[in-house]
Symmetry: C2
Subunit: 149 residues, 2 copies
């Protein structure tokens, strides 16, 4: 009795999409997966520079676009800030903390869906959503930081 395969692996996904295995693509992917955070393209660029000094920022952007297209990472946008990239593929939202600037994943309560609270017009077909919150993360809400920015 086969378990539902949770998520395709990097190798599998790259192959299935007829893409090549390049060091840069892998390095960008690993840099995002290693730390489970929400870096910008420039932050990833800096991380990757350590292991592959010749990589360019344009390549980081290109890789991230490709990885997003084939579903290996999520691109998240919020209030015109730099895009951030997320290794968590499950359905979730993000909390952008005004205190520390950090981003926290917000999971869906079990069995709930956006349709449960939003009144979509009949026949509307939703393919994707972009949901983010601005506020204070638990840490900053309890101990406000010394007024950054």
């Amino acid at each position: 009795m086969a378990k539902k395969p949770p998520l395709k692996s990097y190798d599998e996904t790259i192959s299935e999409n007829g893409l090549r295995f390049t060091d840069q693509r892998r390095a960008v992917y690993d840099a995002l997966m290693d730390q489970q955070d929400h870096p910008t393209a420039v932050e990833l660029f800096i991380r990757v520079k350590g292991k592959a000094p010749s990589i360019s920022l344009a390549t980081v952007y290109n890789c991230l676009e490709t990885l997003t297209e084939c579903g290996l990472v999520q691109t998240i946008n919020h209030e015109r800030e730099s895009a951030r990239y997320c290794p968590n593929l499950s359905e979730h939202a993000h909390l952008f903390c005004s205190g520390c600037g950090g981003v926290t994943d917000i999971p869906l309560r079990s069995k709930k869906r956006a349709q449960d609270i939003w009144e979509f017009p009949d026949n509307a077909a939703i393919t994707h959503h972009e949901i983010s919150f601005r506020g204070l993360c638990p840490k900053c809400a309890v101990t406000p930081p010394p007024l950054t920015k």
Copy 2:
């Protein structure tokens, strides 16, 4: 028995915030309120140019920022597209149609809140949310448009 005043008027809000009544500010506000749609800054700039030909795009941006800050309009961002401005101040989300490019307001089902489906960490303090959907509006879902892109 006083009714709950629904929303402060333009005049009231401008006064309370110690702002000036300028023709440009009013023209930008009116251009947004007249048509209940979701124009970009440039679209509003064009509309306003009709009535106040000397206005500059920078002023339109500045006015929209001020109006957003004092709560008279909402600024909506989606997938790094140009910001759009929304005259509807009630709590709602937006559906960006891949067919016609239009934006539809999505109201909250009565008595529901984001907290009902999202599992926020204890103590997190939410001040604002940015919720948008990508998909097809009812019209385009029924009669797909001729592939605009």
